[in-house]
Amino acid sequence: MATSQAPTRQAITLKGSTNLVTEFFKYAANTILFQRGVYPSDDFHMVKKYGQTVLVTQDLALENYLDRILKQVNKWLLTGSVTQLVLAIISKDARLPLERWVFDVNLVEQPADSAEPTPTKPESEIQAEIRYILKQIVSTVTFLPIIDTPTVFNILAYTHDSADVPADEWVDTDPLAIEASKSQQVKLRSFSTDVHRIEALVAYRYEG
């Protein structure tokens, strides 16, 4: 289904791309929650995905929670309303943001001179890029500050004003930002499908 009519092709791959992106968010979130110890490691079990083993939570409550959030994110992605997804890790007691994992969602620009449709990106390549990001997330433990205090996480979605927000489920809130003087940012790798481009970045609190 490479070429053919551009609009229909767009529509098809948009849905597929959003599903890919949503799935990536799910596994990235699980990986982050495991690596940063937000939930005890016993709660996670290994699953084969993207050609490697990733850790996914077994805790049903958490899984349902993430699924509900991601279902809405999926809807937003379809309409192009969400621009950024942030997984903020805050300390449980003081509600101090310790880390922010920021995933930018951009739409891939169609090259102007696409007289012939650009070849679709093979799924294996997308999977490889996702693999790199996940591996990188795991490797961030080498420099991220150790978290001793119990933490909770919050998922924030940056959307357009015009986004259709189910009012009873999503509320506007504080972005849980880390003060610029105390925050260090590390840009991680990105991956892109034919439709979306996801860039990852981690901002962590670093004193001194």
């Binding site: 998922i155 924030l156 004003d161 999503w170 506007d172 809130t173 504080d174």
Partner: protein, 557 residues
């Protein structure tokens, strides 16, 4: 209105337009300069700041307090553009001096005066966050931004665009979070505490509190003399046979050559149950789960079904081509292991009793045990193979049941000793013969070999203690011993050497889980009290078991 260090807006707002800040208004705000909605000074709406916007250029101010706000500022600010009466008041945003809308107070961001201006401009419904300054980083930035955005009226599209570019937060953006907080870890701290407590229990063998309360469990004393000895004349010395079974009704069945006797442990009465047909001998006996029926396997390959109470033979199920060395019941299914290596499932209720056949052994099947829940069947053979079969009986897609779920070839001798763990149903223990003399513990779910224990002599049977975390093994050449090991450390707790004069071949554990009955070719049936009876200790054991199970899960992992 030049109340400098105060936030006059609070009061000012009241007087002003009360139109709530709806998103449309906000967006209108963003797009245009001033909200054309309310104000009391229409004249002032003429965006003086557009021209004078440079005035508001980011002067480096340490804090908002030092803002040099000109009069025009104030005018603008007081110009009713700051709709205090709107959302802000309702949201109580003004109560703070332009504190960033986080729960944490940010003292450095001392805003004074027209702070609300910024806020209102960026108010979205219910959100008291500043759209332009979503991330309040330093005071400087915030201060300057605040300066810049002091007056919504003066916001020009170009200005906001610059602002947006500067802060990196585009306009028309909302930051949303799911209304529910993420679930706390379901295990929480209590489980981890329990884990911490349970972990050392099985960390080192020495720490395991033994049943006889002695400090070390190595020297736990079990009586080396049997509690009772029964005479069993004619008991054959054949490694492959299984001639003793103990039912849940506390009845022991013993096969002596061709005869089968039942001994009621409660009354001590022995009664002769059956005689094998002429020319053949009894090769195995097994009580059904409820103890009402006894299956007797004969050397000719027939399986007899007897009613124990009535002493009546109910049926004979034939067909096998070799001796039936081992039987195992699962509800109404009686499984028989044959000398030709086949395992048949007999449904004892129907005329055509053979409902399934499992072919997984090339040597005689001498060990066969159903798991208590009937999900799996374990078999061991003379071919040194341990097979774990799916327990579902019946026709399913070909190949689904035709092959064993797991096939283990780690043993180097015949596997007669097979036992499922009563407290952890996925564990299976298997023991090998003379050449092997090793006990392997398997996880039947993953197929992993969890533990291995080398013993000095051939393993003839394995019994898991129902109430303690221990394994009992009986042995033949050369020690003829009964050994008790701790699980999972597999540390030897006790050993009774020369329990019999010949190989201890046949074993059964009593329904109370305290006495073990052993039979050997020396024509003796000995009863050993290995574990304490359940009763007073039941409560403790029960709790221990539950936590131990959990720690057992941990250690297996």
């Amino acid at each position: 209105m030049t109340s400098i260090p105060k936030t006059p807006s609070r009061y000012r707002s009241r007087s002003d337009a009360k139109t709530p800040l709806t998103p449309s208004i906000i967006s209108a705000f963003n797009s245009i300069s001033i909200s054309p909605q309310k104000r009391s000074h229409p004249a002032d709406l003429s965006n003086p700041f557009i021209t004078k916007s440079r005035q508001a250029s980011p002067v480096k101010r340490a804090t908002g307090g030092g803002v040099i706000v000109s009069d025009s500022f104030h005018r603008q600010a007081g110009g009713g553009v700051i709709r205090k009466g709107g959302i802000e008041t309702r949201l109580d945003v003004i109560s703070r001096d332009y504190l960033p809308p986080t729960s944490q107070p940010r003292p450095e961001l001392k805003r004074s005066r027209s702070t609300p201006a910024t806020r209102e401009r960026t108010q979205s419904t219910g959100d008291n966050r500043d759209r332009f300054i979503t991330t309040r980083e330093t005071d400087d930035v915030a201060a300057t931004l605040e300066l810049m955005s002091l007056n919504p009226k003066t916001v020009s599209p170009g200005h906001t665009a610059r602002l947006a570019a500067a802060t990196g937060v585009p306009l028309n953006r909302r930051v949303l979070a799911y209304h529910e907080a993420p679930p706390a870890s379901s295990s929480d701290s209590t489980l981890s505490q329990q884990r911490e407590l349970a972990r050392p229990l099985y960390g080192r063998p020495g720490e395991l509190p033994s049943s006889t309360s002695s400090t070390t469990n190595k020297s736990r004393r079990i009586p080396t003399q049997p509690e009772r000895v029964l005479d069993a004349p004619g008991m054959v010395d054949d490694f492959y046979l299984n001639l003793v079974s103990w039912s849940i009704q506390n009845v022991v069945a013993v096969a002596l050559a061709e005869s089968t006797y039942v001994w009621r442990a409660d009354t001590g009465i022995v009664s002769h149950l059956s005689e094998a047909p002429e020319g053949t001998y009894v090769s195995s006996v097994d009580f059904s789960n409820d103890g009402a029926y006894l299956g007797i396997g004969l050397g000719t390959g027939e399986v007899e079904l007897w009613d124990v109470e009535a002493g009546q033979k109910l049926r004979t199920m034939g067909g096998h081509q070799g001796q039936i060395a081992v039987l195992s019941w699962n509800a109404h299914i009686l499984s028989s292991g044959c000398g030709d290596g086949s395992i048949w499932h007999h449904d004892v209720r129907v005329p055509r009793h053979k409902v399934m056949e499992l072919l997984g052994h090339t040597g005689e099947v001498c060990g066969l045990k159903w798991r208590a829940d009937g999900e799996l069947l374990a078999s061991g053979g003379n071919d040194n193979v341990v097979n774990i079969w799916d327990g579902r009986v019946g026709d399913v897609t070909e190949g689904a049941r035709g092959q064993a779920k797991w096939t283990k070839r780690n043993h180097t001798a015949a596997v007669k000793a097979i036992a499922w763990c009563p407290w952890q149903s996925s564990l299976l223990a298997s023991g090998g013969g003379t050449n092997d003399a090793t006990v392997h513990v398997w996880n039947s779910g993953t197929g992993a070999r969890l533990h291995s224990l080398k013993t000095p002599s051939q393993v003839t049977s394995i019994i898991w203690s129902p109430h303690k975390k221990e394994i009992l093994t009986t042995h033949g050449y050369p020690t003829n011993a009964i050994m008790v090991h701790a699980y999972p450390s597999l540390e030897r707790i006790a050993e009774i050497r020369d329990a019999h004069d010949s190989r201890v071949l046949y074993t059964a554990v009593g329904p109370a889980g305290d006495v073990v009955c052993t039979g050997a070719g020396d024509e003796n049936l000995k009863f050993w009290r290995i574990w304490e009876g359940v009763g007073a200790k039941k409560k403790k054991e029960g709790k221990e078991r539950s936590s131990s199970t959990r720690s057992g899960i941990l250690s297996i992992r």
